[in-house]
């Protein structure tokens, strides 16, 4: 089923929020107010499309560091994200322990992930197994970059899900680079979706800059998983418009022309044009939305800046479950 007009506007609003927040993070970095940012610019359609295809808050998610738009769609607030950037005490991912964008949002069933790539894929298989064992009406969505599908752990996770027909959606966000390394040096197949057939489950390729196409593809996979038909691998193709992270200098390995060329397939431009065509978002409605979003972000920046840092000795806990302070 296609999303309703209201849902379509919601999807676009989230994409725009993610974009503006991401841009604000780069500004904070340039101002020296934060030490690190890893950007999701260009990935918004894939993440929002996927988020709207699951039952947010009920289904489970094991994300990766590019997933700002996905996390916002799951209910993380801009202030929470910004506090994470600043390493503030009350940021929900890790209480300032992890680097920014190493997500966790317990209230949304979004599981904490680490930096070593592909570890989250295997957790998704395990969550899928538990859902199946308990007979629950849930699925698990897991995301990863294309480069990281080179890890043995990714294949092992997909194999589990295929063998046991687990309700897992493996989304691969193929942005064509793993830091400096192009996708051709990661895999000899055209798409990460092609890897699925060797493991015995469906592999789908979808334009990751088209939020509605992604939504449709993921929705089908989710419906299949819920019906007991097992897992799907979905490659969403886009382009990493920014450097890998604020520590990277992408001029050392790709041309400005290539980047500029790819900016023309900006998922936000595509979605906005679509909504405009459908008469859902006029120029002035867009302006109003954008102004509102920017104002809410400024408010969130103030809130995050005012929030306290953890005390140094808070680093001592909680190493063991017994030390967890329950609110």
């Amino acid at each position: 089923m296609d999303p309703s007009p209201d849902q379509k506007l919601d999807m676009y609003r989230l994409m725009l929020l993610a974009r503006r927040l991401d841009e604000r993070a780069w500004v904070l970095h340039r101002q020296g107010k934060i030490a690190f940012h890893i950007s999701g610019i260009g990935h918004e359609a894939a993440q929002v499309g996927a988020a709207f295809a699951i039952r947010r808050g009920s289904d489970w998610v094991t994300p990766y560091y590019r997933d700002l738009a996905l996390m916002l769609a799951l209910g993380m607030t801009p202030a929470e994200f910004l506090m994470g950037l600043m390493g503030k005490r009350d940021e929900p991912n890790s209480g300032g322990r992890q680097m920014p964008s190493h997500w966790s949002l317990r209230r949304a069933n979004a599981v904490s992930h680490s930096a070593p790539v592909a570890t989250q894929s295997v957790h998704a298989a395990g969550i899928g197994l538990a859902i199946k064992l308990r007979g629950d009406d849930k699925v698990v969505l897991t995301t990863i970059g294309e480069g990281s599908t080179s890890q043995g752990e990714w294949y092992e996770a997909v194999n589990w899900a295929a063998v046991h027909r687990l309700p897992v959606i493996f989304i691969v966000q193929n942005n064509q680079y793993a830091i400096s390394v192009r996708a051709e040096k990661q895999m000899a197949v055209q798409s990460a979706a092609d890897k699925a057939c060797g493991l015995g489950l469906p592999g789908i390729m979808v334009d990751g800059t088209d939020v509605f196409a992604v939504h449709r593809a993921v929705k089908d996979a989710v419906d299949n998983a819920r019906a007991g038909n097992g897992a799907t691998v979905i490659e969403t193709r886009m382009y990493r418009i920014t450097p890998h992270s604020s520590d990277d200098d992408d001029r050392t390995y790709r041309s400005r022309e290539e980047v500029e060329e790819n900016k023309r397939r900006d998922p936000l431009l595509l979605a906005r044009a679509r909504l405009q065509e459908e008469g859902l978002l006029s120029e002035s409605q867009y302006d109003e939305m954008d102004t509102q979003i920017k104002a809410s972000i400024e408010e969130a920046v103030k809130q995050a800046e005012a929030a306290p840092y953890p005390a140094g000795e808070e680093a001592l806990h909680p190493v063991y479950a017994e030390e967890v302070r329950h609110a």
Binding site: F36, G96, P116, G152, V181, P310, G312
Partner: protein, 327 residues
């Protein structure tokens, strides 16, 4: 003699070894066009081409496993693990294979290879870009574990490592990559793997350290000099096999020993040094052997108050040494 940074010395060593021996090649993530995320292979791709500098798929167990295969065939691979924190997927190939090949084949097969990995915290890298992993590998017979702390040693030890017939874990204190500068002679020299080095002779107390902590130990020793405490600083350089003689001779002279590392205390490398001293220099001691190390929490947290709390620094070393000198 030209002065250079630690990372420049590492780059130069690799350059010279590539030029010297056609069997030497380098693989790892982003080592090609990008020249490594820390620039350890900068310019080498242009100089030696894609068959000597090979961008690997993003999969560490295969970086090491493929390196082992090539070494069995007679090559001399240098394997870059982007961060020591990401060496863990490769533990199977390192511990089960590389370390045991010579022994299990009764010497029929050997694996000459070098695994380079930047390690250590204090750089805002959070849990997964800050770890110290030396204790893990210094527990594995069949491996040699080397940690340089000066540009001179980094170049000489890395060249020795490339020529060594065994698998070498070569850990580089990344906080010092650009911070630590020193004189490095032009051209050919090697620093043998094994011997420790007395980097500052003293009478009152022996301070054992390596990597970034050796750098800090020298700063602490300088500070204590003005207080009338004469500290001997020993740069261990090779952790496994360990240079017992230099350690014991130093303790016999000073009668006091402080071991410093940033890795966490329990089961850390310092325990081994303490045990050696207790075993073989017990009657020479005027005070208990002390260790100063990171706290027993899983890894260095990101948020700067917690990171600062975690890290060993020159002030903490000076305080610990002062206390021991007064014991």
């Amino acid at each position: 003699m030209p002065e250079m940074t630690l990372i420049e010395a590492i780059r130069q060593a690799q350059d010279e070894e590539l030029a010297r021996d056609p069997n030497v090649f380098i693989t790892g993530e982003d080592v090609g066009v990008r020249g490594g995320v820390f620039r350890a292979t900068m310019g080498l791709y242009d100089k030696y081409g894609p068959n000597r500098l090979i961008d690997s798929p993003l999969a560490e167990d295969s970086i090491v496993g493929v390196g082992i295969g090539a070494a069995l065939y007679g090559m001399r691979p240098i394997l870059e693990i982007q961060f020591a924190d990401f060496i863990h997927p490769a533990l199977n190939q390192i511990i089960s294979e590389a370390a045991k090949m010579c022994y299990r084949s009764n010497g029929e097969w050997t694996v000459p290879l070098v695994i380079r990995a930047p390690y250590g915290g204090g750089i805002g890298g959070g849990l997964y870009h800050s770890q110290s992993v030396e204790a893990l590998f210094a527990h594995v017979p069949g491996l040699k574990v080397v940690i340089p702390s000066t540009p001179y040693d980094a170049k000489g030890l890395l060249k020795a490592a490339v020529r060594d017939p065994n698998p070498i874990i070569f850990l580089e204190p990344k906080k010092g990559y650009r911070l630590i500068k020193g004189e490095v002679p032009e051209g050919e020299y090697v620093v043998p793997i094994g011997p420790a080095r007395i980097s500052r002779p003293g009478r009152d107390l022996s301070l054992f350290a390596y990597g970034m902590m050796h750098h800090y130990a020298l700063q602490a020793a300088q500070k204590l000099e003005s207080e009338g405490i004469d500290v001997e600083v020993v740069d261990l350089r090779t952790l496994y096999p360990v240079d017992k003689e230099t350690i014991l001779n130093s303790v016999r002279k000073t009668s006091r020993a402080l071991i410093v590392h940033e890795d966490n205390l329990t089961g850390g490398y310092g325990a081994e040094i303490a045990a050696i001293i207790a075993d073989e220099a017990f009657t020479d001691l005027d005070a208990p052997v002390r260790r100063l190390a990171g706290p027993d929490v899983p890894a260095v947290p990101f948020s700067h108050p917690m990171q600062d709390w975690f890290m060993v620094n020159p002030e903490k070393i000076a305080a610990a040494a002062r206390k021991l000198a007064q014991w």
